[in-house]
């Protein structure tokens, strides 16, 4: 069965093993409450890793997601402060639209002007982050400035489960359906796998690129509004550097930076792995300063392992090609 050999299963076993190891040192880590709160904490990373994966699938990268998240979060907080009577779902919708526009700006520069994604998003990373300072005048917005409903929203528990986790479930289900069962979603794999062949198949590459960058922006926007309301603060530096954590989650989850390879369960497990590490360190009394070094080591280990499995797939063709060439000559 291919499922048993799959990379996702291996990663799942590693994550479970890690959780058990931590549980041996501190049994409290394996209680329901602890695992539940870890999943809720990791909800942002789940959503953002999936959006980033869609971009990476097309051989792109979006370094601006964390800046977009912080900018949209600030805009949402300012909006919620100015119009306290607007229902929270409307604020979230506006945040999604605002984030999508910021993402589409990346998309236009990448898709229509053919500027390399790393250059574009490096620029907008600085621009979006700085705009937070400009629109808020350097001010910090705290729970006192936001409406009560806006602050209470992320604490809602429909059906007994935190609403952030529901958002993560909905976004994951959406991406799973989109990437596996729609022609547009499959086209993203085709673009990343072989852009030239994809174009000859009649896939409109610029339009698909616009879509993935817009989508990444929309998810960042949603997460921005939720982030600000959950943590009750909006200022210039929120989620600073989070783009690298998001990319790390993708890489650990087996998403190939060369494009065309990556699955929704993989990216989710990559995010979960980082979530386990972040939440486990304080439980087993390891200084949180270890977190960065550990995630760096894990990224390197994951990329080495993934490279091995990709190499194997590539080398299979060679003997056949050689045989075909030899056969053709004689």
């Amino acid at each position: 069965m291919s499922f048993l050999k799959s990379r996702e299963l291996a990663l799942g076993v590693i994550v479970l093993g890690l959780m058990l190891l931590v549980g041996l040192r501190a049994p409290v880590f394996l209680t329901f409450d602890s695992i539940y709160s870890m999943l809720v904490d990791t909800s942002f990373l789940f959503m953002l890793a999936l959006a980033q994966m869609a971009v990476i699938l097309t051989r792109g990268i979006d370094l601006s997601v964390a800046s977009n998240l912080a900018l949209t979060g600030m805009v949402a907080a300012l909006f919620a402060a100015a119009y306290p009577n607007v229902p929270v779902p409307v604020v979230l919708l506006l945040a999604i639209v605002f984030g999508a526009f910021a993402g589409l700006l990346n998309g236009v520069l990448v898709a229509n002007l053919n500027i390399p994604p790393i250059v574009v998003t490096l620029g907008t990373l600085a621009v979006y982050r700085g705009l937070i300072f400009v629109i808020a005048g350097g001010a910090w917005l705290t729970t006192d400035d936001m409406s009560a409903a806006f602050v209470a929203f992320p604490k809602l528990n429909p059906l007994g489960v935190n609403i952030l986790f529901w958002f993560a479930v909905a976004v994951s289900a959406g991406f799973y359906g989109f990437l596996n069962y729609t022609a547009t979603g499959r086209s993203l794999y085709a673009i990343g796998g072989n852009p030239v062949a994809a174009r000859f198949c009649g896939i409109n590459i610029p339009r698909h690129l616009l879509l993935v960058y817009g989508l990444a922006g929309a998810v960042s926007g949603l997460c921005g509004a939720l982030w600000v309301s959950r943590y009750g603060i909006a200022y210039v530096d929120i989620a600073s550097g989070f783009e690298l954590t998001i990319i790390a989650a993708c890489v650990i989850g087996g998403v190939s930076i060369a494009g065309g390879i990556g699955t929704v369960p993989g990216a989710l497990l990559g995010a979960l792995f980082l979530g386990v590490v972040v939440n486990a360190l304080p439980v087993i009394n390891v200084s949180p300063f270890w977190q960065m070094a550990i995630s760096g080591a894990v990224i390197l280990a994951a990329v080495v392992v993934n490279a091995r499995s990709e190499h194997r797939a590539g080398k299979l063709i060679l003997p056949e090609a050689r045989r075909a060439a030899a056969g053709g000559k004689t």
């Binding site: 500027i115 490096l122 080495v304």
Partner: protein, 332 residues
């Protein structure tokens, strides 16, 4: 008339349009614009001491931008340079505590940088991993290690004389700081190697088509490994200059510098797709960014707003020629 049907020229015939459309020419215009604007908006801008003082703020980054330009030219990238600075600075701080002298500390910084660069290079060339992922990983690893050792503490005890190079001037008049002088010397060396030697031409060949370069007998992997090692070494040098200048080491030293450095290289006209770029372009971009930052900070523009403008400058300067070419293409 020769009997040949075609006359093959050694070089392209001279055309003025080639000069004006050259990226270096556009950058020179931009630099002139920045100089004029700076002089107009602040009376303190065009002063030899102000200008030489400002070199402290960009020379260390500029030194790393040189090898980074070569890496990007060969389709690789190193996002871990700022993390290498933090690790090299940590090593110097720890050894300063053991009583080493200033020059020994400088050597330690360079060696740590070199080791980090070789580590990156081995992962990329020997195992064949994409450099962007490797250096995102080592970026966390190197800085994470510095964080583990230092926590939120700082190392501030350095031997007497350690600050001479970072804070001092090599030439008293005109005032040229050590770090700036090192940058100028290195830029000259890099320009000669890249534009006047066979090794330099090979780097362009690698960037244009690594597979063809490999089959032409160029040891592509060895060149790339050497470039990663060089980037690490010069990050170590920058770490020494920076630590010597500010006299303290924290785990968040030089945080985010990799983005500033890559901005210098890309604005300098080095193509992320490889094979295109020049040292003169990178040097001009260093001055454009450095002097624009100086001018804006002289009129009290906050640092974060300056970073917005630099981000816009990066995007617009790359997008504008493409748009202009497209509009002209539709007409012609």
């Amino acid at each position: 008339m020769s009997s040949q049907r075609y006359e093959v020229l050694d070089t392209e015939p001279f055309r003025w349009s080639n000069v004006f459309l050259k990226w270096e020419f556009i950058l020179a215009l931009l630099l002139a614009g920045v100089m004029v604007a700076g002089t107009i908006i602040s009376p303190y801008f065009l002063d030899i001491w102000t200008l030489s003082d400002a070199t402290f703020n960009y020379s260390e980054k500029a030194i790393i931008a040189l090898p980074m330009a070569l890496l990007i030219l060969t389709r690789e990238i190193d996002l871990s340079v700022a993390a290498i600075i933090s690790l090299a600075s940590l090593a110097m701080g720890l050894c300063a505590g053991l009583g080493y002298g200033p020059w020994a500390l400088a050597c330690i910084g360079l060696l740590v940088g070199l080791a980090c660069g070789i580590f990156n290079g081995v992962l990329v060339t020997k195992i064949g991993l994409p450099s962007i992922v490797v250096t995102i990983g080592t970026m966390s690893l190197f800085r994470g290690f510095a964080q583990v050792v230092m926590g939120d503490q700082a190392i501030t005890t350095y031997p007497a004389g350690f600050s001479t190079v970072g804070q001092g001037y090599l030439i008293k008049w005109p005032p040229i700081a050590w770090s700036f002088a090192l940058f100028l010397i290195l830029a000259a060396v890099f320009a000669i190697v890249l534009h006047r030697t066979a090794a330099g031409r090979r780097l362009y060949a690698i960037g244009n088509n690594p597979v063809a370069a490999q089959f032409s007998g160029i040891p592509v992997e060895s060149y790339k490994l050497a470039l990663f090692a060089l980037t690490g070494l010069l990050s170590g040098l920058a770490a020494f200059l920076l630590t010597s200048r500010i006299g303290s080491t924290r785990s968040n030293i030089a945080l985010g510098w990799e983005l500033d450095i890559i901005t210098m290289v890309i604005l300098g006209g080095v193509s992320i797709a490889g094979g295109v770029g020049s040292i003169s372009g990178v040097v001009l971009a260093v001055f454009v960014l450095g002097l624009a930052t100086l001018a804006l900070s002289l009129i009290n523009v906050p640092g974060i707003v300056i970073s917005v403008l630099m981000g816009l400058l990066l995007i617009i300067s790359i997008a504008a020629p493409i748009i202009i070419r497209r509009v002209m293409g539709f007409r012609g």
